[in-house]
Symmetry: C2
Subunit: 209 residues, 2 copies
DNA sequence: TAGTCTGTGTGACTTATATCACGGTAGCTG
DNA sequence: CAGCTACCGTGATATAAGTCACACAGACTA
C-alpha cells in the first residue's frame, strides 16, 4: 500500500492518521461484478475506495435491485461507517462496477480516530453529507421525474464514471431503474432520434455534447 | 429549560454534556404549521426536538412538497447537523406538524462536543444512521410500491405520531405523496370498504387493528 | 453449416395513475 | 336564510409505463 497514493486520494487528513490508515487497513481487490457487501451482512469494517467504481443498490423483497448511487476512488462507504459504529448489518448491496481496490479499516478505529483526529471527524461528516444529498437527489428523481428524464440522468451518471462508451444491455439499465427492457428500448430509440446516443449491440454510446 | 426533561428525552449522554446543552441551547417555540427550516436557508445551529412533531419535505422546482419523514421529541435534525458542520444551506423544508419546541445549539458546539463527549458522537452517529434508514425506506416505497401501499404506509405513520384520528384533507395527503386528490379519494374509499378507515369531513379515522 | 443463445425492435394490449368536468354537501358569513 | 367556500365523490378520458407475443440478428458452438 502506497502512503502517497492514500494522501492523494484522501487529502486534508492529519499526518499521523495516514500512518494509522496504512498500519491498520487491509487491502481487498475486487473483480468487476463482485459483491462487496450483501444485504443483511454484518459489517465489521469501514470501507474506503482506493480504485475503481462501486455501485450501491437497494433490494426489494423479491431481490429486485434498485440503483442508488456510485462510490468513486477517494470516497468512503458511509453506510459501512454508520453500521460499523453500531455493529449492525448492511441495508444495501454493494458491487464492484469495475475492478476495484478497497481498504477495510476495522471498526474499532472508527471510534478512536473520531476523537483523536479532527480531520477524520470532518471526513466522516462530509462523507455523510454527500451521501445524504445523493439519496435526496435519488428521491427527487423517482418522486418527481418520468422515466425519460430518469434514464437521461442515469446515463449521464454512467458516462461520468465510465466514459461515453457504456458496455451494458437494455436489460441492465431496466434493472437499475426498476423498469422493463421494452420501455428502456423505446426511450433509447427516442434519444437516438434526437442524436443523444448511438445504440450498438451490448453497448450504448453517449454522443450528446 | 428543565434539565431533567432533557435527560429524559436524550438519555445516555454524559453528565457534563447536559449542563452544556442547557447553557448554550436556546429554546424556540413553534405553532403547528410554522416553518422551521426553508430550502436554501443557511443553517447556523443544530436542532433538537423537545416536544411535538416536525415534518420534513423535499421540494421540487415548482414548489411541490414531497413528504420524507417525521422527527419526534428526543430526535435531532441530522440535516441540520451535517449542514451546520459545514456552514451550508438546507436541502429540505421542515415544518412543525403540531405545536413544537425545539432547542437550537449554535454550530460551534457541534465540533467541540464531538471530540469532548463520546456520548455526543454516539448520539450524532446514531441519528445519522436512523435518518439514513428512513431515507432508504422512503426510496423503497416510491421505487417498489404502488399508491395503495404507499397510502397505507403513510396513514400508519401519521397514526403513530398523531393518533388514530387524523385531521387532514384528501388534498393534504395527495400533496405529501405527490399524487392527486381524486386518486387518494378513491383509494380511501376502498380502504373504507375494507373497514380500515372511516372517512369524515376534514378527518380520517384509522380503525384497522 | 446448422443450431442455440442472448440481445434487440416493435405492435397490441393492460394497468395504474393523472386529469377533466362535473355535481353535491357541510359549515360559515353577511 | 342566501350565498360562498372548501371539501368530497365519481364518471369519462388521457397518458405513462408495464406486459405479452413474436420476429429477427449477431455471435458463439457443435
Amino acid at each position: 500500500m502506497d502512503i502517497n497514493n492514500i494522501k492523494h486520494l484522501f487529502p486534508n487528513l492529519e499526518e499521523g492518521l495516514y500512518g494509522e490508515i496504512v498500519n491498520h487497513g487491509t487491502i481487498k481487490e475486487l473483480k468487476a461484478g463482485e459483491t462487496l457487501l450483501k444485504v443483511g451482512q454484518t459489517i465489521r469494517s469501514t470501507m474506503l475506495i482506493l480504485n475503481g467504481v462501486v455501485k450501491l443498490y437497494r433490494e426489494d423483497d423479491e431481490g429486485k435491485e434498485f440503483f442508488i448511487y456510485h462510490l468513486d476512488a477517494g470516497q468512503a462507504c458511509s453506510l459501512s461507517m454508520v453500521c460499523a459504529a453500531k455493529h449492525e448489518t448492511s441495508e444495501v448491496l454493494a458491487k464492484a462496477l469495475t475492478d476495484a481496490t478497497v481498504l477495510a479499516i476495522p471498526l474499532e478505529f472508527m471510534d478512536q480516530w473520531m476523537s483523536k483526529y479532527k480531520s477524520w471527524y470532518q471526513f466522516v461528516i462530509t462523507s455523510y453529507r454527500n451521501r445524504f444529498e445523493e439519496l435526496l437527489t435519488t428521491i427527487d428523481a423517482i418522486a418527481f421525474s418520468n422515466m425519460d428524464e430518469r434514464l437521461e440522468d442515469y446515463l449521464k451518471k454512467q458516462v461520468n464514471k465510465l466514459g461515453t462508451n457504456l458496455k451494458m444491455t437494455h436489460q441492465d439499465i431496466a434493472n437499475d431503474l426498476n423498469s422493463s427492457r421494452e420501455v428502456i428500448n423505446r426511450l433509447l430509440k427516442k434519444m437516438e432520434a434526437k442524436n443523444w446516443v448511438v445504440i450498438h449491440r451490448n453497448s450504448i454510446e453517449w454522443i450528446k455534447k
